[in-house]
Amino acid sequence: MISSALILCAISSDSSGASDVGLANTSITAAGNKADLRGKIPLNELGQEISAPPAAISISAEDVAWDAGGVIKISWQPAAGTTSATKWIIERSEVLAAGQGAGQGAGQGAGQGPWTLVAEVPIAETNAVASKLPPDASFFFRVTAVSPNGSSTVTTTKSAATGHWNFFIGAKLPLFCAILLVSACVIYFILAARRGRPMKVRRIAALEAIKDAVGRATEMGRSILFVPGIQDMDNIQTVAGLTVLGNVSRTAAEYDAAIEVPTSRSLVMEAAREAVQASYLAAGRADAYNADAIRYITDEQFGFVAYVSGRMVREKPAACFYMGCFFAESLILAETGNSIGAIQIAGTAESSQLPFFVAACDYTLIGEEFMAASAYLSGEPDQIGSLKGQDVAKAIAAIIIILGVVLATGAAIAPQGAMPAALEWLKGVLGS
């Protein structure tokens, strides 16, 4: 004899399409108790129960070899049926040393730290990388499949994995070899120049024009404006700009022309003062050096531009030099200089700003020319030799590019031949 029954008492659908079914126990008459016994069974459109996705079958974690340490690769094997899930959640728990505290939370053993999120990846993925981990620390990892209907049970690694430090970062080997190769070329030609081997460097019009620009300023009785970019001394372009400043200020000292150097970084101001003072000293004009002509304005990009542009319009310098790292302010400066009729020479390695300088300035040092300016202007055999080494490295780069083009073209024409394999080999060597 049936003393009680479960009856269907409510059906409702939510926006995801799942249906909620309310059940009531007929043996309990109190309305409150009925409510307590109610449950929710999510159903699909066919009335079938929708359950949480199954857990991953297994999970493993291993240290990534030849890395900077602190990187562990986590892989897992999904169970059949996880396609209903939307993403995987990967978490980690650090293995604590004795006395560092007990575990917290469900599923966590003693001697483990709290579970923290490593990554959330799409359900199609079967691996993830935990990076920036503390060096030589050990971690357990767990993975959970998540769907709109709930989460699977967790699958945890059986043993802890440790991200070990390595002596060398393997992924950077091609770059390291390239630097060694370029350095070897440069050093070889520096030594060759020291031994007296003649070096010929092509004429760079922009650098030849420096004396003309300074001479023009002297004749017109106007000042020279030198802007060493808007970045600090940790930017190689600023350093390269200061090397040019040393030469320009020496010429200015010899010609008795006034030079003004507004800077947007205090450290650059100090370095520029040292460079200009040394140049005036070398030119035998130490008395003409004016430290206040090299002044700090502001770190703020457009505040600096406002000052320099205003100064240009008011003082009308006869020659303007822009040597360093520039961004959006490049065109504002160069166009203002153009409007006042100044002879303008620019140099930067910011490829996005080069078109603006080319359009608005009389001469522009493009990328490597800017970097070579110091060596070119010094005329010292050592430095000229380094330029020659740079050229040889460029020739090697050109040969590799041509080889890559030939192999890629060959691989496209004959995909079954040896070319694709050779192309892959070259890509592997270059680390791409």
Binding site: S266, M269, A275, R295, E368, M371, Q390
Partner: protein
Amino acid sequence: MAEGSARIMKRLVPMWIAIIAGFVMLLSAFFPITESLGETVGEIFNVVAAIAFVLGAGSLAKVNLAKISRRDQGWGYAAITLICFAITLVVGLGKIGVPQSTQFPLLGWSGEKDAEGSIFGWIYEFALVPITSTMFALLAFYVASAAFRAFRAKNLEAILLLSTAFIVLLGRTFAGVVLTGWLPDWASGLRLENLSVYIMQVFNTAGNRAIIIGIALGVTATSLRILLGVDRSWMGSGD
């Protein structure tokens, strides 16, 4: 004797600091064991730059005060600069109007200097940002004037530049689609929007990469010259 010590302090010490710091930074990029050393060098640079800011502020004050005292042309602007500098410094260092940090409610001055409601934050949001935006907006007019000058068809190269720019400009607007959208599929490569993409992806990318490779080699050679002490002109004279 004094000249010798001055040479050591002004030439040799900076040069060796640059050489050692440069090699440490280079090695830290490849050898993890030196990574912390590289970070230390970076932190030292930040500290030195922060100290140098005092020198910069001193220079700013000195130059503008001199201008005011001499009553140079535009000395009023120098006065405004100094007043603004002083106000910003006081409200920033004093954290005037800064609400107490919710994280550390018992500690005085624990709020962020530019937190919402602070005077420093107000100056930044309602004075600095609009002023810098105005300067940035001027760029549009400078681009127009520079383009006008650059695209004058005065020789063959300029004509090529002008033609290319014309195609790219049209191809990136609806005008390009309207003008050449009628071309049949077999000639779709000649549609302005496709020509624009082709120019940017092939010619522009090739030229840009050539420049970037040259820059990379130039940076390497320049760094090497400085690291080896061959180029000392960044300190002024090469002597």
